[in-house]
Amino acid sequence: MLNLRRASMRNVWIIAHREYMERIRTRGFLITTVMIPLIIGAFAFGSTFLASRANTDLHIAAVSADPQLAKQLQDELLRQRQQDIQSESGNQASISSHGRKPLNITVEGVAPAEGIRKALEDELDSGKLDGYLWVTPPTQGGMRSTFAFTPRGSGMSSVTTWLAASLEKVLLRGQLEGHGVDAGETNLLLQPVTITEVSRINHEDSEAAAICVSVLFFVMYLVIMLYGMNVARSIIEEKTSRIFEVMMSTIRPEALMAGKIIGVGAVGLTQVGIWLGMLLVLTASSAAVHLGGNTLHIALTGKQVAFFFVYFILGYLLYSSIAAALGAITNSEQELQQLNMFLVLPLLSCFVLLGTLMTTPDNTLARVLALIPLFTPLLMYFRVSLGHPAVWEVALSIVLTSASICGIIWVTSRIYRVGVLMYGKRPNMAEIRRWISYS
């Protein structure tokens, strides 16, 4: 029996080795390895480039009976931009909630007059103005003016909120001045309060850690999708090339499945390894560091990296064994595509849950969901990285997921064995159930 098991392991290795060598030598592997980082890089560079270009100038008009308002507003906007730049350089990884502020800000004062709205609308259309602010004086005493902002296009809501904040300060400044408070004191009063977060667990700030974890999460998602589907395709290839009969006269279908999953997975790991290597080389050279405007730094502890690999491998094995099952019940890639929602849906629901988990990684919902094998790899990894799961929870999640992987491979290999011998139409659920009970 031991002998037979050793023979099985040997066969798994031979299958995996073939699968790995055949895939790594293809042109497709070379192309995806080079192209995916290039596409992501081009996308990141392109979007920051466009964003920075779009926001360099802001030119608005303020229609108000008060001629001072435009000047005061412009000063206030410029002051706030200065403060933002200062706080950004202090906190490298933080991404400003208002986006990047424009460099040149001009606020033009316009006195309300007949037909002025028409003229301003024309200027908006011609692109000379980015928006105009309409100030309506109060109709009776004890009330404030009302403000309406008309931006040139949509997508300027950040400017609107920013204007509101600035106007508030302008008005406050005016009132304080009216009460005889001197300018220096006013500045001190209106200075924004910044809180520096000091993490109890480690010196890295948790926001940066969350970003790094999210990036790894995305890598996990990408690799599982790409290579899980490759496992399914590889099994379909086996069926269409009709080689399965030779294989099954030699080795157990379980060994074939396991070999394929390991071989294809190793290709995935190789590719991720190459990408990480590229990233390290890039971050080491200072030129690329400021590519996105923000400085990249990897804020991960050893524990987070170690658990990343544990859950990454578990996740890959789990999802690719599901993909293998999909491959086993379908006969062509078209049929496979109709079924790949079984792979995508659980992964997507993890994405949806990510928002709540980010803030409260230890609530009851998170604790329960992280123990469900389909969610374990992504969610428990999140909890381990950012929350405080009990040791037994971590252990249980690993045990449950491993058991699921073995179970799925066992079921899949049975479906495969019977399915390939009865090629033809795709089986329905009742038939699949019967196949599993077949020997």
Binding site: I14, S241, E245, S249
Partner: protein, 324 residues
């Protein structure tokens, strides 16, 4: 000790009974032909022999012991559904398949080259599998089944789709292997191939064993009532009362004698022919395996329904005999 022993094996897929109460025994060092029309259960029987599927009832023994997967290392199998990894290099593919059969990569490569030389296909080794013709791929798969020097060779339709030169090359190879003491089982629906090569045969139809035994023994059970005659001149002897059916060709005829005609009928017919025609050739033979098979199926399954699978070849016969 039989190398292969199926005992009352039965296998049903859903509603279709593929193999029903089949018992076969194959002795060491013999060539065994498994015969039957398409869909008769040949492939299903073979799959049970090598554990791809398990019988619903009955037992399979190989090398004198109940089947276990360990025995697969001693079996070479060429499936009916030919298949190789299309994108893979041919030599690497052979080495890969050899390693799965527990021989080292270097031994596998050496044997692959040796076999390729013997089967005159060495030039294919450095190519990609998808670049080979279908016949060449079949030869490669034939080699793959033999790389690990198996004691039992099982081939499902090994010669189908090959040209006569290559088919006889593979037949000669199998005969050589038999002389080396290997046990060989192959299936075919071409009865003529079996007559020359096999020591023993089993005919199956509709999953049931119709006929089995040694080639000579089976044939001796049947009367020598087939006559091939080549002649010139008067053909009125073809209406002789001892004749059941005649198939006419230019200057030749194939004759089946009436079962009741007796042992001397052939001599009587020859005399009648000589009376009006010049006889160039006169040969008395037993029925071909094909004819025995058709006859046997008709006996065991009297209703025409059960005979549908054979209808095509039977129809061809009826047509050619109508000229009589």
């Amino acid at each position: 000790m039989p190398v292969v022993e199926l005992s009352h094996v039965r296998k049903a897929y859903d509603t279709k009974i593929a193999v029903d109460d089949l018992s076969i025994s194959i002795e060491q060092g013999t060539m065994f032909g498994l015969l039957g029309p398409n869909g008769s259960g040949k492939t299903s029987s073979i799959r049970m022999m090598i554990g791809i599927t398990e019988p619903d009832s009955g037992t399979v023994s190989l090398f004198g012991k109940p089947f276990s997967r360990k025995m697969l290392a001693r079996i070479g199998y060429l499936p009916e559904e030919r298949g190789l990894y299309k994108k893979m290099n041919v030599l690497e593919q052979l080495v890969f398949l050899g390693r799965l059969h527990y021989i080292s990569a270097s031994v596998a490569a050496a044997r692959a080259k040796n076999w390729a030389g013997r089967l005159r296909i060495s030039e294919a080794l450095p190519k990609k599998t998808e670049d080979l013709s279908k016949g060449m791929q079949q030869k490669i798969q034939f080699i793959a089944a033999l790389l690990h020097d198996p004691d039992l060779i099982i081939m499902d339709e090994p010669f189908s789709g090959l040209d006569p030169v290559n088919a006889s090359l593979l037949m000669d190879t199998l005969v050589e292997l038999r002389q080396q003491g290997k046990t060989i089982l192959f299936s075919t629906h071409r009865m003529d191939q079996v007559e020359k090569m096999c020591d023993n045969i089993a005919l199956i139809h509709g999953g049931k064993l119709v006929l089995s035994g040694s080639m000579g023994e089976i044939k001796s059970r049947y009367p020598r009532n087939r006559i091939h005659i080549a002649f010139e001149g008067d053909d009125s002897f073809l209406r002789h009362p001892s004749i059941e059916r005649v198939r006419r060709f230019p200057g030749q005829a194939d004759i089946i004698l009436h079962p009741s005609a007796g042992t001397e009928a052939a001599q009587g017919l020859l005399a009648a022919a000589l009376a009006g025609a010049r006889v160039n050739r006169f040969e008395v033979t037993e029925p071909t395996l094909e004819e025995i098979f058709i006859e046997k199926v008709r006996e065991t399954i009297p209703d025409a329904q059960g005979f549908v699978l054979q209808a095509e070849s039977e129809q061809a016969h009826e047509e050619s005999y109508q000229n009589a």
